[in-house]
Subunit: 428 residues, 2 copies
Amino acid sequence: MALIVQKYGGSSVADAESIKRVAKRIVDTRRGGHDVVVAVSAMGDTTDELLDLAAQVAPIPAPRELDMLLSSGERISMALLAMAIHSMGFDARSFTGPQAGMRTDSRHGSARIVEVTPTRLREALDEGAIVIVAGFQGINDDTQDITTLGRGGSDTTAVALAAALDADVCEIYSDVDGIFTADPRVVPLAHKLAHVTSEEMLELAANGAKVLYIRAVEYARRHGVLIHARSSFTANEGTYVLGEGMKHPRESEGEAMEEPIVAGVATDLSQAKVTVAGVPDVPGKAAEIFKIVAKSGANVDMIVQNVSAASTGRTDISFTLPKSDASAALKALAAEQSEVGFESLLHDDQIGKLSVVGAGMRSHSGVSAILFEALSTAGVNLEMISTSEIRISVVVRGDELAEAARVVHAAYGLDGEVETVVAAGTGR
Amino acid sequence: MALIVQKYGGSSVADAESIKRVAKRIVDTRRGGHDVVVAVSAMGDTTDELLDLAAQVAPIPAPRELDMLLSSGERISMALLAMAIHSMGFDARSFTGPQAGMRTDSRHGSARIVEVTPTRLREALDEGAIVIVAGFQGINDDTQDITTLGRGGSDTTAVALAAALDADVCEIYSDVDGIFTADPRVVPLAHKLAHVTSEEMLELAANGAKVLYIRAVEYARRHGVLIHARSSFTANEGTYVLGEGMKHPRESEGEAMEEPIVAGVATDLSQAKVTVAGVPDVPGKAAEIFKIVAKSGANVDMIVQNVSAASTGRTDISFTLPKSDASAALKALAAEQSEVGFESLLHDDQIGKLSVVGAGMRSHSGVSAILFEALSTAGVNLEMISTSEIRISVVVRGDELAEAARVVHAAYGLDGEVETVVAAGTGR
């Protein structure tokens, strides 16, 4: 008998019918002889509707009250889910974040989990009940106020519960089948991965893959939680996210699992490129520029500095950042133009970022050569390049990103059978 | 500086506009130099919508989970109200039933308040904040589960807060102007009362008046809370409900207040009459009958037993009960007909009950004579009569009830100017 934590996102519990379907899946797991703890998101668009209401009564809602408001969404879905399970003849009890012992710091809207003390959950499990916990919420340890965990909060709730209860697996359900070698809407020949390492998953998520939230994967990695990302609409096995020293369950049972050098290709159209042109090539200028950008609240991703032209003693510095951060960064830089002494600012929001991720890169040479060769053959021009230990990212024209992803995917031998895949996107 | 508790029902916070209007009223009270604690119901039809959802996922929802579900409604309204007040530049903090220290017994769906420990509310008040509390909900002292207080729960929350915080007044806002001498839809010449005693209010509420819930009035009476029932749509003064030894505030300031013998005329079309005919006139038969009726779950109101006919040794027993309880009671009685030995059962759901209530009845004679005289002159036939110390109730034909109420209202000198009054009905 195992202890299984399951997380269901908003699209999995969007209406009464979906809730009954999820209840059946939970009951089936229980019937399999397992203890079950469920973290659930708010139904469908509830959170957006509540945010709308808040905007109608207050231009800038007080953060404490906004968390109080938003936390009601999960109370509705979890109570309904518990009722549905009850009416199938199984004991089920719902618990709010505070009742579940989800203790956080005081950052309303993006609280961090400080400690999980699941005393009441253990009691309920000991009494044979299925435990349903409100995702996304906790309680400020100091003030006893309700907090919310921010984007992807329910994933984090599930992983934190799995860690605190020492669960055998944390199943993250969404409307996609698992982690794919690429976004199937971009690369039709993408196939589902049996497993990825958590470091690969972090790189994929940080570079455009949307199935799992970085924070939840980090938490799982730090606390040794095995994640199984799968669909709530099928019975298919999904993708296991393996931390340090973990093996895919089938491999543990003796089955040999393929270990590709490259796990997947991530694509990202959400970034823009800013070039600060004609920067005096003297020490400290880059630091000066990125201090200004950071102060504007922008999150810089890739940075490239050209070799300076000896004739002018000036260089160009380009960086990428989320499109939504670009105008603030440009404004901040423009205000300091004479201070920094650069010549001009260029802004380009028609770029695409392609990243190849694989833990095998550490031990295999020639991985980047395959990438550059494939893109060159396809006539795709590279505008920026950056690498980490297990990732190579390149910036290309936005309208060439899909083509680039397809040829790179093929070049690494990732093309599989065509699968039918539903659109990506998970609840919070 | 006074401490004022205010309660706003669902119709007063039905949408964003209403919430802003209520926020302004609260802020105005605060600007008047008073400490303000607010109990708020769920927005408009939220509770009914949540009940609908519950019915869709479970035929008989688990009571613990139903309370968890329903309690989310007030979290939404209270957080929005606190935000709206915040954005007007005043500190406001919302508290759930558990956070407010509303400790109850374990009866999910109709929990009773055991104790109120408003530690956090006092702290917030001491820090100058306006306090918003979720009506209708509490926490089971033993299990730490969420409970709800049942119908009229938010009124009870407000009164219990007023008692625990020793408030100067508990203002119960609804969409009617206060307590009237009769239902203005039935008696157009009904007028608003400046005050009623709490015992009069209890009799009026028990006999058809719908502005205040009996439980809240009882709690106020027991704990010496001054209730002011008024409209959230006007600035008019409403009706004060005076407990033992209390005076209307204006009377306290030296103004002479009229003390009528009769406070008001209540009408009720929600009851049915059952007659058990041909009951053997031997001791213990009435007890036998009402034991059967009680076991069916019916709530008996008036009871009349005729003098037995000496010739037959049999008598008739009639009683009234809510229409919704009638079929269960009739079925239960029919099943025991041979055991009890009565001859037949009659059922009449076309009756109306008229009650005249006034604390002055204690010290004035001839009060009932006025009633009987007025009804006789109007040609209204009386089918049952029952009295308490401060009330006379009669059962008449349902289609004669309105006419009966008008002539009785006039006979006691209650007719006032014609007022414009909105429809009765409050939130829970």
